[in-house]
Amino acid sequence: MKMIRTAGPALTGRDPFTAKRIRIKLLTRSALVIRMTILMLALLTLLGFLTFNYQGVNFFKGVAATLSNFKVIFIQPAFAHVTFQGAIGELLITLSLGILTTLLGAVIALFLSLFAAKNLSNRMTSNIVKELVAIIRAVPTVLWVLIFAVSAGLGSVAAVIGMSFHSISYLTKAYSESFEEMDRGTIEALEGCGASWWQIVWQAVIPSSLTSMISWTFIRFEVNFGVAVAMGAAAGAGGIGYDMFMDSSYYYNLHEMGAIAYFILIVAMILEYGSVKIKDKIRA
């Protein structure tokens, strides 16, 4: 409460030469709002901890049990129901799900983003496409998969459609923003040569933004790989995520969960490394 009490004199007594206590910083309206927000968050956190329902779970015992589970998962990984080759096969299924949805998203997003970019489209079309895409993006991928599961049934079809849907909206935003960075003069120069809209797009706009388009697509691929793992479990789309889900919920086999977790981690690291390499190559 002390902060609020000092706000009054600080706002009025701005002259440091006459003030009783000399302030280094003036308490402006925005500073006051930030302080209030932090205070509210602190109060809510405190309130949360005080009103938790622990239901007889001993906090320290709980932490100790979790740590021992982690020990089993990460220090003693082993295969039981899946073989090593089998895990690789399942991993390829998950990877394919990621690649397919990214590709579908990229191709459709490429065309949508041309209409979303302000410098290539008219203001109305651009605004409509951008708004539409923003709404689609606001709903999480998992929810889209579940929405499509209503018509397609829970499984790989719903996963592919739902994940592509979200990828389209994400990549449309990313691509159209890369297009908008394009120098207006270059487009003007080609218009002046008598070039048509499609010619300008393929001969100037896309070559100029190719690097950033590729890196956005790769970022989306990494996201889609992660989502594909989760979809294996949540939507029954198959792949490595499904095996992990079975281990954790039916077999209670933590050793195998660990093995699968390491598998996924290695692939994610390879993807990251590969995308950095590719970005370096095309930038040079």
Binding site: C193, S196, P207
Partner: protein
């Protein structure tokens, strides 16, 4: 000589009150090199862009080669633009593409949309582009990416892109404003050559008075959207220079006799 371009009472208004061009009338003959001079913001760039309709004039008529530019349909406008090459102060090349690809962009206007979009060019067009590059001294840069070139080289690529269009007229919007003196001279020499030897009409915006006096067949002075002088470089008096550059001419006054002197010597 036949008249190639004619402005009849052309005005351009931005928004409600900014009048960029006001009742501009003049004509340009075939094969001439005409320089438009005037202070920044006088409407020189707007004037140039009204010719190929990168900017639409608000009223008046622009006649190019006996056709009224304002009334052309979209397809006809594309055909007209192939006949008018344009170069810019900031070169406006696609930096990530090679010199060769950028020059070939000048041929896009002649092609059906999808052929040009795929970047398919005829062997004869490639040969023509190479010859133009050679005549501009860029034969060693053909496959270089444009972002590896110097300013002077980029502007020559810009000229090559315009020439490969086989234009009847070349518009140059402050072509040397971001170049050093020696590159500037090279570019202006090329423009002079294009006008004299190739018979292409050149309309060039300049803010360097001495260079305009040196190279132009005719000078058009623009001030606050109005044409205030239209005549030979030798007819340009200190008085008219003062009207063109207005109150800013105080510093210029020192340079005018000198630059005219320099121009005469060359």
């Amino acid at each position: 000589m036949a008249t190639l371009l004619e402005f009849r009472d052309v005005s351009k208004r931005y928004g409600n009150d900014t009048l960029a061009l006001s009742h501009v009338s003049f004509s340009v003959n075939e094969g001439e090199l005409v320089s438009i001079i005037g202070p920044s913001g006088a409407g020189k760039s707007t004037l140039l862009r009204c010719i190929n309709r990168l900017i639409e004039a608000t009223s008046g008529e622009v006649i190019f080669d006996k056709t009224n530019v304002q009334q052309l349909s979209k397809g006809k406008l594309r055909a007209l633009r192939t006949k008018i090459g344009m170069i810019f102060q900031s070169y406006n090349l696609v930096d990530r593409l090679s010199v060769f690809e950028n020059v070939l962009h000048g041929r896009l206007g002649y092609k059906p949309a999808f052929v040009g979009a795929l970047g398919l060019y005829h062997e004869s067009e490639k040969k023509q582009a190479l010859e133009i590059l050679k005549s501009l001294g860029l034969e060693d840069q053909v496959y270089k990416r444009c972002d590896q070139l110097s300013g002077g080289q980029k502007q020559r690529v810009g000229i090559a892109r315009a020439l490969v269009q086989e234009p009847r007229m070349l518009l140059a919007d402050e072509p040397i404003a971001s170049l050093d003196p020696s590159s500037s001279k090279t570019i202006m020499d090329h423009l002079r050559h294009i006008s004299t030897s190739l018979g292409i009409t050149v309309l060039v915006n300049l803010h360097q008075l001495d260079i305009a006096l040196n190279y132009a067949d005719r000078i058009i002075g623009v001030s606050q959207g109005k044409v205030v002088f239209d005549g030979l470089p030798s007819e340009l008096t200190d008085e008219t220079i003062r009207t063109i550059y207005g109150a800013d001419s105080e510093e210029l006054n020192l340079n005018i006799p000198e630059s005219k002197e320099v121009a005469r010597k060359i």
